[in-house]
């Protein structure tokens, strides 16, 4: 092959360029510390890098979640421990009070301390962590526990999240049965744990000629509810010509799902219990059903439910727990909260009820009443005897319940701590994987760089020798 000068130049330039290109790539790798700059350098590394970055960032987030979960659980644990101390102290006092005869002074001072402890129960029940009430279920913005003393005859009633925690709990024995009946009627539909539906805000509206209808399914039975035409529905206070939406809905629903009649045996009265109770919660309409039931709302004519502030297909679940759950791993969720009723007890015998009874017993009361529903649905008021030494057993039962919750919280704390350790390991592993995937091996790059530098120098030197001489140089 004939070799010409232009060819030499061209080839030399091309080779120097290629060498320089490799050198540049290595230099860039060294400067950035990354194997690839753009996906086309190595699409597989690029794709893997994307996934690994997500993994690493997620683990970092999970670590933050674990820290927050631990703080919450620790606050819970402290609160429960404090409650335990209160119960223990109350037990000591009860034992003291039940042993031998007490002077009037001693009895009064014990009673004062018990009342003090009773207040502390509420205080601890309203423990907040970072401004959020930890025992309030989802309603973290409001203190969950308050004491309703509005009816002194009935004694203090514990309210949990705005509702009676134990409507069937102990009532002072000297209360008139008629008062108890009235209390019972008000407690229906106002008991903690009853399923309810409460949706968006309601605004005043006027119906047209076309019927506005929706249907309610209660335990498998569906009924259509029609709103009256040409009526302005509003909340109270009503302006002239307006209809109260709450009472209107209640009467229409009662017509569709007839109220159950129950005989109050002590007075002989018959009381009506609506299966669905309509009430107002701020600017919202609320449907409450009895525990164990659930309702579902469906639009019959489009938009009726929306006007009322409900979603089509909204459903109240039967026993929905208000569990606050944090994500601390992929598919790894941890419930971090304890709902107030778990430690205070729901039903006949609660922690607060024990303290009520303690106070009464120390007051010298020997009897208390409870409400009971028999098999045929009739309501009876039962009178029970009150003995201070028997209350030790009640306190032990309360403590037992508390211990169970505490053990559960402890177990959860352990699990979260274990997860925290695992997350640290995972973070190390994934960071290492990410580094292996996309970071360069510096030693290797430096070696390669040095080699390439030499190659580049050699190609330049060769080029310089190549270009210089022509025949002219040797002609004189």
């Amino acid at each position: 092959m004939r070799i010409t000068n232009a060819m030499l130049m061209r080839n030399m330039m091309q080779n120097i360029n290629t060498n320089l290109g490799r050198l540049e790539k290595l230099q860039r790798q060294m400067a950035t510390g990354k194997k690839i700059q753009v996906p086309s350098d190595d699409p597989i590394i690029a794709a893997r890098a994307l996934k690994l970055r997500t993994d690493v960032s997620e683990i970092e987030q999970f670590k933050r979640n674990v820290d927050d979960a631990l703080s919450w659980l620790e606050t819970t644990e402290t609160a429960i421990a404090n409650l335990g101390d209160i119960i223990q102290r109350a037990r000591e006092l009860t034992v003291q009070a039940s042993n031998g005869t007490l002077s009037e002074e001693e009895r009064l001072s014990i009673k004062a301390e018990i009342s003090q402890l009773k207040n502390s129960l509420i205080e601890i029940g309203n423990t907040a962590y970072a401004g959020r009430y930890i025992f309030a279920g989802f309603s973290t913005d409001k203190p969950p526990f308050e004491v309703d003393s509005s009816n002194p005859a009935l004694g203090d009633k514990l309210i949990y999240n705005g509702k009676l925690l134990n409507p069937n709990g102990p009532i002072l024995a000297d209360v008139d049965d008629a008062v108890i009946q009235a209390y019972y009627e008000s407690a229906v539909g106002n008991t903690a744990g009853q399923p309810e539906l409460c949706m968006a805000n309601f605004n005043k509206f006027t119906t047209g000629a076309t019927p506005m209808e929706f249907s309610i399914t209660l335990d498998g039975i569906t009924q259509t509810i029609s709103l009256d035409p040409f009526t302005t529905y509003s909340f109270e206070p009503l302006a002239a010509g307006e209809t109260d939406i709450i009472s209107a809905l209640q009467s229409k629903i009662d017509a569709a799902f007839p109220p159950v009649t129950k005989t109050f045996s002590s007075t002989g009265d018959v009381i009506m219990v609506s299966p669905i109770k309509v009430s107002r919660d701020g600017n919202r309409i609320k449907f409450t059903v009895q525990e164990g039931n659930s309702i579902r709302l469906n639009d019959v004519t489009d938009g009726t439910l929306q006007t009322l502030g409900f979603a089509d297909g909204a459903e109240s679940s039967t026993n929905r727990k208000q569990e606050i759950i944090y994500q601390i791993g992929v598919g790894n969720n941890i419930k971090i909260n304890v709902e107030g009723y778990e430690i205070f007890g729901k039903g006949l015998q609660g922690l607060f009820d024990t303290f009520n009874k303690l106070e009464w017993a120390l007051d010298g009361k020997t009897e208390y009443k409870t409400i009971s529903v028999d098999a045929s649905g009739n309501i009876e008021v039962i009178t029970n005897s009150l003995d201070i030494s028997a209350l030790i057993g009640d306190l032990d039962a309360d403590f037992e319940r508390l211990l169970k919750v505490r053990a559960d919280v402890g177990a959860r704390t352990n699990f979260v701590e274990m997860t925290a350790n695992r997350l640290v390991d995972s973070l190390v592993n994934f960071t290492e994987l990410m580094s292996k995937n996309e970071d360069v091996d510096m030693a290797e790059v430096i070696m390669k760089l040095t080699t390439e530098e030499n190659v580049y120098r050699a190609s330049l030197a060769a080029g310089a020798r190549l270009i210089q001489p022509t025949l002219l140089d040797f002609l004189s």
Partner: protein, 505 residues
């Protein structure tokens, strides 16, 4: 009878011949760096001899340079032209794909990962404290960042499209300019060669123009010999896309016009027939500008825009409604949750900043209107982050049930056919990487082929200084020798004229 000055005559011819050869050598040397130049050689021949009447044979009369020809292997030119268009196409694509890679900017700490990580991190924080309004504001801001990410990618991709479009117009003008220049050269070469000469330098110039043209579009070049009124003449033709671009003394122009999309298409100015290039730089630009990746089309910018549209649309639908790509509803979605203010039915993502109500006026069909260009967070969320639906009914302040569901969308393999959002992006980036790698590889392969042909061309036609200097020396010597010849003849005439017959005086 031999003339008296015959010897001098022969010597002078030697001088002329050497001078001519030296001129040619000089021309070669000065053009050693001229692109496209073919070295020239003088065709040297012994001049017509005289026959000696006595039958003693033929007497040589010296030498002549009867022509100057250029050394060119035209086969290599044709080969070059047939490969150069592919090189042009893939070089263009490689450059543009690298631009797309820069737009996606993956893997980096500012790409899709970062945006989505921030968004989901904010949601995680909100799941831990749903009533915290400053975290709600953070979710809103990171949500805006997600929408902006789509907007910016889409707009940048569109910019590449319009850049391609402008490039096409410029390249078409270049083609026209080359076609005109080739036509002009055809005329000059024709006229110069009427008397049978070869217009070496003009031909080199024309070859160089065709070299350049062959990179922009795919062309077929022929030089046909036609019989024109009993005389043979060469006609140079360039055919592009089945029509003449240059035919001897005529050149035909291409022009661009806007198609229904507002993009340039190319047609012949005279016939208005559409011109569709098969390869070359213009084809590269067209493919990247228009390639949707379906039906055998190149995976150009529209493919990536469509993918980003699909991403934005599907993600918005999954996040808002809990509806996956295949239409199954797996989650309550943002719309099914309850905001801190008790509102429901709020869509987190809409387009053009529409409120949920305006957006849902069309029902689920509204999602077909979401593109990567217009995706935004809804006016409701933008105006009041309390409307972020962290809760399920009944919407208590601490209820985080819906946010937890929304968090699951991040890892849900059912969201796209490709899997979770990360997987979708992963697949897209890998595809882009592979496409770009392929374009680079093809471009460099084609470059190697071109280089090899160019080397062979240079091997045949390039000027070798060594060779030319050797020629220089050679012809200098022959010149010197011829000059010596003159001086010898001079001496002979000296003797003949001045010394002969002096004895009689």
């Amino acid at each position: 009878m031999k003339t008296s000055f015959f010897g001098l005559e022969v010597a002078v011819r030697g001088l002329y011949t050497s001078r001519r050869q030296l001129d040619i050598t000089g021309h070669n040397i000065t053009n050693v760096n001229t692109p496209g130049y073919s070295r020239q050689v003088g065709i040297q021949q012994a001049s017509t001899p005289l026959s000696i009447p006595t039958g003693a044979g033929m007497l040589g009369t010296g030498s002549d340079v009867i022509g100057i020809s250029r050394i060119r292997d035209e086969f290599l030119d044709f080969k070059f032209w047939s490969e150069n268009d592919d090189y042009g196409e893939w070089e263009t694509k490689a450059t543009l794909m690298a631009e797309l890679e820069a737009i996606f900017d993956e893997p980096s700490d500012s790409g899709m990962n970062k945006v989505f990580d921030d968004f989901y991190s904010a949601l995680q924080e909100l799941s831990k404290d749903p009533s915290n309004e400053s975290i709600r504001a953070l979710v809103k801001q990171t949500g805006i960042a997600v929408a902006r990410y789509f907007n910016s990618i889409a707009n940048n991709l569109n910019k590449v499209r319009s850049d391609c479009n402008n490039a096409i117009k410029i390249k078409v003008e270049e083609v026209n300019s080359y076609a005109r220049q080739i036509r002009d050269l055809n005329e000059q070469i024709y006229k110069a060669e009427l008397n049978g000469n070869v217009a070496n330098d003009l031909r080199d110039e024309r070859t160089e123009l065709v070299n350049k043209l062959s990179k922009i579009i795919d062309i077929e070049v022929t030089e046909v010999i036609v019989n024109n009124q009993g005389k043979e003449e060469k006609r140079f033709q360039v055919v592009a896309g089945g029509s003449f671009l240059v035919n001897h003394f005529d050149s035909y122009e291409l022009e661009v016009y806007q198609n229904e999309e507002g993009m340039y298409d190319i047609r012949w100015t005279s016939s208005k027939n559409q011109f569709i290039p098969k390869s070359g730089e213009i084809k590269g630009y067209l493919d990247v500008r228009d390639g949707t990746g379906s039906k055998g089309e190149y995976t150009g910018v529209p493919y990536y825009i469509n993918k980003m549209n699909e991403f934005a649309r599907t993600f918005a639908k999954a996040f808002n409604e809990g509806i996956m790509k295949d239409g199954t509803k797996l989650y309550t979605g943002h719309a099914g949750g309850v905001g801190l203010d008790g509102t429901e039915g709020i869509r987190f993502f809409t387009y053009d900043g529409k409120s949920s109500e305006e957006f849902m006026a069309d029902g689920y069909d509204a999602y077909d209107k979401i593109t990567a260009f217009n995706i935004s967070i809804s006016a409701d969320i933008n105006d009041d982050p309390r409307k972020i639906a962290a809760a399920l009914p009944n919407g208590e302040a601490g209820n985080n049930e819906n946010i937890r569901e929304l968090l699951n969308t991040r890892r849900d393999n059912r969201m796209f056919a490709e899997g979770a959002p990360e997987d979708f992006m992963k697949a897209l980036v890998a595809a882009l990487g592979i496409d770009s790698q392929y374009a680079k590889k093809l471009s460099s392969n084609q470059n190697t082929i071109i280089n090899q042909i160019e080397n062979r061309r240079l091997s045949v036609s390039g000027v070798s200084i060594d060779e030319e200097v050797a020629n220089l020396v050679k012809f200098q010597h022959s010149y010197n020798a011829a000059a010596k010849m003159v001086s010898v003849m001079d001496e002979i005439y000296e003797i003949t004229i001045h010394r002969l017959g002096v004895g009689g005086r």
